[in-house]
């Protein structure tokens, strides 16, 4: 059985999840809908679900002004920069931190699950967070990129 390095694996999952979330946030700017509006909401014909009055805070932040999608998108771009990583973050302490990633991924999942397009992004972010938890539990360390091992030039 080969040895799976969990944080290297979860990097791919979290990148996929974050790219999806950014894409979903983008569409949430145009097709604005509160995901949980069916709870206590009524269906109007035409017009669709009308959320309950108790949800007005979410309606304000997602439908009237897409604050949550914008925040989710900004967070997503920032997280991609950390995860890819962007050159200026490579090798820094925050780049090596798994707890930071777990927190950001869970926050991202929380934001994404609030708007209509974000459910899959939220689910995938939770999967990625769980993989990072596993890496943390196993005590994995993120190593510096191995130097002096170029790809080999022409033959």
């Amino acid at each position: 059985m080969g040895k799976l390095i969990w944080h290297e694996y979860s990097r791919y999952v979290s990148l996929s999840a974050t790219v999806y979330t950014v894409w979903a946030s983008f569409f949430a700017l145009y097709f604005r809908k509160f995901f949980w509006d069916f709870v206590n909401g009524i269906v109007r014909n035409p017009g669709g679900v009308q959320p309950a009055n108790s949800d007005s805070i979410f309606v304000t932040l997602i439908v009237k002004a897409p604050v949550i999608p914008i925040f989710s998108m900004v967070l997503g771009f920032g997280f991609i920069a950390l995860e890819y990583p962007a050159p200026f973050l490579k090798g820094t302490a925050i780049h090596r931190s798994f707890p930071l990633r777990i927190v950001v991924l869970l926050l991202q999942a929380f934001l994404a699950v609030l708007f209509y397009q974000g459910t899959n992004g939220a689910l995938w972010s939770i999967v990625a967070a769980m993989c990072y938890v596993r890496a943390q539990v196993l005590g994995e360390k993120m190593e510096e990129a191995k130097n002096n091992r170029g790809r080999g030039g022409r033959a």
């Binding site: 059985m1 080969g2 040895k3 799976l4 390095i5 290297e8 694996y9 791919y12 999952v13 996929s16 999840a17 894409w23 569409f27 097709f31 809908k33 995901f35 069916f38 269906v43 109007r44 014909n45 035409p46 017009g47 669709g48 679900v49 209509y116 397009q117 459910t119 899959n120 689910l123 995938w124 999967v127 080999g152 030039g153 022409r154 033959a155």
Partner: protein, 520 residues
């Protein structure tokens, strides 16, 4: 070099042709879908829903990335049109009903999750780290395909408000359910693939016996397997399974025996966990073989120590050991055959590093054909072996020794070995002391001398061309006939490119240099 990513990925002629045809067909279907949506009255409700995607789900036979891209397009489009179904209430349901209570939505989200798991574990880094994670996860494809075939069962594309189900097959009313029925097309490749997997299993279950295990001094185990139903040609590879170690894992190895041999052999070095377990199981304990391998890596096994000189191997005796040899199953053969070496006058065989293994079988096969006097048009063989640490492939050198010793015509087979590793002082003195005047090369124990550094392919090919043109190279050939020189290469891509360039440069009106990169 000098070739951009765009040129490589999209402007390569074959791929360009494929893209034009593939997307041409897609666009036609899109256009057809658009046209029918505009003109067919039954579909008129769809016109109220902007952004509907009428593309059928046929993209999965293209590369995975293309599939991922079109999945994004398709899913995004559905997110928009379910939103609009709810807003306009053309059907008395809300968007989340379609997403999470109807077959189309559920299977779609499920397929996306499977794709996430399959794509991420299929990354080459993960595959190298833990092949099992990739291998087992990739079998989710089965559920993916079930999701794909049933994706349209909810009958989302219809002209009625409610789903038009019926009690009898096909369980929907075709007058109202206007799906594209793409499953009728996509199910056949799935059936063929599933059938192939079953057939593979049947083939693998045919009588197979591990007849011998030989341990070569350099640490490689040679498994000799007898399976009468197994037919192959040189240069192919097989999957091997040892149920005692794992009943699920199949590991690929290059076949090293020639079809004329009464057995199928593979050479296995104990470098990974599975190969270690195999060594332990057959009684070639890791301590014994690992020390042999270590010694071979250092090139020290040529001393006359307890294991003898290289060329001697130890046969594990099944009767004396406490356990019988394990049962094995083999599946195959797979890969490109290299039979056409007999259609060219000069065969240039180039193996780089581990890529040399298929040539064991090819060289043996050539040797058998030579003995039978049945060489086709093959006149000469140039064998190149470019290697960083030649001593670790001691078993291959043993084979080369046998083939070299059996040559009656000194010009038929020429072996060129290039050692590219850095040479330390000890090795330098070893060579200096032992090489001069010795009959055999000190490193490889072959009559052929080892060369150091990387080969200059352009020089090699232009010399070969000059020699052929001068009529010295091939005995009895005359310049009027076109000479065919076939190069067969197995190894890394950069080297392949360098050799291919040399082949192209050297080709002239009466000598045709062809190049084949073998995907063994």
């Amino acid at each position: 070099m000098g070739e951009t990513w765009l040129q490589r990925e999209f402007l390569n002629p074959r791929r360009l042709l494929f893209n034009v045809i593939f997307y041409g067909v897609q666009l036609f279907l899109f256009g057809y879908g658009w046209h029918s949506q505009e003109t067919n009255k039954k579909l008129s409700a769809l016109n109220a829903l902007t952004w509907h995607d009428p593309r059928p789900h046929v993209a999965q036979y293209y590369q995975a990335y293309s599939m991922a891209f079109w999945s994004v397009v398709h899913t995004t489009a559905h997110y928009v049109n379910f939103f609009n179904v709810e807003r306009t209430q053309v059907r008395p349901e809300i968007a989340l009903d379609i997403h999470y209570t109807q077959a189309g939505g559920i299977t779609g989200h499920f397929m996306l999750l499977i794709m996430l798991l399959m794509y991420t574990t299929a990354h080459h880094k993960i595959r190298n780290q833990c092949f099992e994670a990739f291998w087992y996860t990739h079998h989710l494809a089965f559920f993916f395909m079930i999701g794909l075939y049933s994706h349209a069962t909810g009958c989302f594309v219809r002209d009625t408000a409610g789903p038009a189900y019926t009690k009898t097959f096909p369980f929907y009313d075709p007058d109202h359910c206007l799906g594209y029925n793409s499953w009728r097309a996509t199910i056949w490749p799935g059936v063929i693939y599933f059938g192939e997997r079953i057939w593979r299993e049947i083939r693998a279950r045919r009588a197979t016996r591990l007849s011998k295990v030989l341990i070569h001094p350099s640490g490689a185990m040679e498994l000799r397997i007898v399976k009468p139903s197994f037919k192959y040609v040189p240069g192919q590879w097989l999957f091997i399974q040892v149920p005692d170690i794992s009943g699920w894992q199949w590991h690929p190895f290059t076949i090293t025996s020639a079809p004329e041999d009464p057995y199928v052999s593979v050479h296995i070095r104990q470098v990974g966990d599975w190969t270690h377990a195999l060594g332990e199981r057959v009684g070639a304990g890791p301590s014994v073989v690992a020390s042999m391998t270590q010694a071979a890596m250092k090139g020290s096994e040529k001393k006359d120590d307890v294991y003898g000189t290289r060329g001697d191997f130890v046969e594990l005796d099944a009767t004396s050991s406490t356990r019988l040899l394990p049962a094995v199953r083999i599946d195959g053969p797979y890969g490109a055959p290299a039979e056409d070496v007999f259609d060219v006058e000069v065969a240039v065989l180039v193996g780089a590093g581990i890529g040399v293994t298929p040539f064991a079988s090819i060289l043996k096969h050539i040797w058998y054909r030579q003995k039978k006097g049945n060489l086709g048009s093959l006149k000469r063989v140039e064998f190149f072996w470019v290697c960083r640490d030649a001593p670790s492939f001691g078993w291959f050198q043993t084979l080369l020794q046998e083939v070299e010793a059996a040559q009656a015509d000194p010009n038929f087979l020429r072996i060129n070995i290039y050692l590219t590793q850095k040479i330390n002082e000890d090795m330098l003195w070893n060579i200096a002391v032992n090489d001069a005047g010795a009959e055999y090369d000190p490193l490889t124990l072959l009559r052929t001398r080892t060369m150091f550094g990387r080969p200059d392919w352009k020089m090699i090919y232009s010399r070969m061309r000059q020699a052929i043109e001068a009529g010295q190279y091939i005995p009895g050939s005359n310049a009027q006939l076109k000479t065919k020189v076939g190069t067969y290469f197995c190894g890394p891509g950069v080297l392949a490119k360098a050799i291919k360039e040399a082949c192209v440069v050297s080709t002239c009106s009466n000598i045709d240099f062809s190049f084949a990169k073998e995907h063994f």
